[in-house]
Symmetry: C2
Subunit: 369 residues, 2 copies
């Protein structure tokens, strides 16, 4: 479809395609096991529900606070920063969009990994930003020196997830610091959507490095994918750039319910720690079980694992699992087409996945006999 | 503040400034009467609250439907369209931002009134769109011929609110059609944030005119400013442009609670009709009371009135009311600096406003004696 009414931009866009959100049940009416979009298998803190209930009343007729001050204050306290170090938006996707437009849109190309969050090139197309893909090494790990020593006059910025997605591989804080310190003239964005599952946040670098910006999400570790809240942390000059773009786009991206729920999520540290630990434990168990079935599993610092089987095609496994009512994610892309990205579920869900995998691999093996 | 890390765009932005959202009480601890941001004085339908409660549970851990299909279907049924005629976003401000980027960003300047929604020039700056301000006539009304007969080869699009803001003046559907029919080669956007308070929607033109796009908001007539839901209606080719930009920006701008609440708001037609009627009645009573105090009040099709007093300065009245605990909006801009924009409140709130006005005008009059 095209139209003479479209702006020149529109026809050239190739929008991001998120993982499928099924509406109904799986084949034969069975419940689908949904391990395809890295949601938390546990619900949000009960205090989040209570907090939202407490503002679910006729005050919905009133606009929310356009500055989201209370939420920013809570997040600032959590990270021992001040509110002018905190930006919040309608999911970390919106926050990232503002980051690209406000801090990464320069004349020179920005750098990010060839295998990474596939929304990055989409933002670049949206804002006319040139980019250079930096290949991961043969183990699908980020090579720190590729970024830390990239020739400064030729780059406009750097962004990568830590842990990276969809590989799950984590850089240490020392490695992150090498990159940030090596590139003092450009903004280095650390996209920490998955940092709470065992990584160390680059928030610790904000004090000393004016060029580091950290983005985070409440969709994974805080079980609030359905509420759409993300954030960015950095020195006030970086935050101010995001505020200026946001206030030129939409004064109130966070509704009253999301503001209240997100605040409560940051306040309930005990629940957060508990669910993160359960997921980390389940990830390690799942990894072992996959390895015992012959899979190569990348070391993961996230709430998903990235795994391939030496003898079974990635797409074939993906489709086979789907037929068994288990959804995982498969990327039909160079270098990773043989991998499955499997969200860590509850121990029970992970057992269902493994059982389905055994069926699929049994079928696949007998088909090749 | 400025920073070498900012993209070239950021420094040149002059963000939109929304009306104030007070956090506490007024002077002397009295309750503030808030008539400054055109919120509905009545809460949302009780069915909205119930609908949100019904999805306020552990399903918040899951992403919302990125296509918002159920909500779009409900809105489509309401307007007797199909879902591919409906776009929804995080408040009509976000929807308008997408409209500017996807449908109004052409080489040629777009047209909008010199006195209008002050976010329009902000969007133009954000997306590098040239614009021409078309002066309202001496009665602050839109002159239809200025748009219908504007030389076609020289314009890139048209946008105006109907009723216009902050004047409140309404164009008839016949007048809107003259503009839409007169400019078949460009998109004509009718921003209907306030249409439900007595106007006739241009949705009726969508079937016949591929160039008409209507935007609406749930913040005013449906009492949901705090939930952030807006929409656009038009032929599928126009909607597709918005979807492409949205999907290159943020897959899920509407959270699960907003989707459920917005759907329920459209389903409760009786409540909607009742509150709109109450506000229209209160507007007429308020207009009479202001006229009896010597004000000139523009005819309003909105949930606010735009009024000036021949002898009292706009800023002085605004500040005086504020001191009395009544917030209204004042725009320190050419042609309208003597006006107050007063949101229509409940009959009781409107009485408070009038009483405060009497105090302020009494004070002002005795000060000039």
């Amino acid at each position: 479809m095209s139209s003479p009414f479209w702006s020149r931009l529109v026809g050239g866009l190739t929008p991001y395609v998120p993982g499928e959100q099924p509406k109904g049940a799986g084949p034969d009416g069975r419940r689908l096991i949904k391990l395809n979009t890295n949601e938390n298998p546990y619900g949000p803190s009960p205090k989040v529900i209570t907090a939202i209930e407490s503002v679910l009343n006729e005050s919905l007729r009133l606009y929310p606070d356009p500055t989201a001050h209370d939420l920013r204050e809570t997040i600032a306290e959590y990270y021992r920063l001040t509110p002018d170090h905190v930006f919040v938006g309608n999911g970390s996707d919106e926050v990232l969009a503002f980051v690209f437009q406000a801090l990464l849109a320069h004349e020179k190309p920005i750098l990010f990994p060839d295998i990474s969050y596939s929304f990055y090139p989409v933002y670049c197309a949206l804002y006319g930003i040139d980019y250079r893909l930096i290949p991961l090494d043969e183990d699908l790990a980020i090579r720190v020196e590729d970024y830390a020593q990239a020739e400064q006059p030729s780059i406009g910025g750097i962004i990568f997830p830590n842990p990276n997605a969809p590989t799950g591989r984590l850089l240490s804080l020392v490695e992150i610091e090498r990159i940030v310190a090596g590139q003092p003239d450009v903004v280095v964005v650390i996209d920490e959507a998955y940092i709470d599952f065992g990584g160390e946040s680059a928030v610790a670098l904000i004090d000393r490095f004016p060029n580091v910006l950290v983005t985070q999400s409440l969709s994974k570790s805080r079980s609030l994918a359905g509420l759409r809240v993300g954030l960015a942390l950095g020195q006030p000059a970086l935050i101010e750039a995001l505020v200026r773009v946001k206030d030129s786009f939409n004064s109130y991206p966070l509704d009253r319910l999301a503001l209240a729920g997100a605040k409560a999520a940051f306040e309930d540290g005990a629940y957060f720690a508990q669910t993160c630990t359960r997921i980390i434990d389940a990830r390690e168990a799942l990894t072992k079980a996959l390895v015992s079935r012959g899979f190569t599993v990348l070391p993961s610092g996230a709430n998903f694992v990235f795994a391939r089987h030496p003898k079974q095609g990635g797409e074939q496994l993906y489709l086979g699992l789907r037929q068994q009512g288990v959804m995982v994610r498969h990327f039909n892309k160079p270098r990773i087409a043989e991998f499955l990205r499997i969200t860590v579920g509850t121990p029970e869900e992970n057992q269902c996945l493994l059982a389905a995998l055994d069926v699929v691999m049994g079928i696949a093996m007998s088909a090749t006999n």
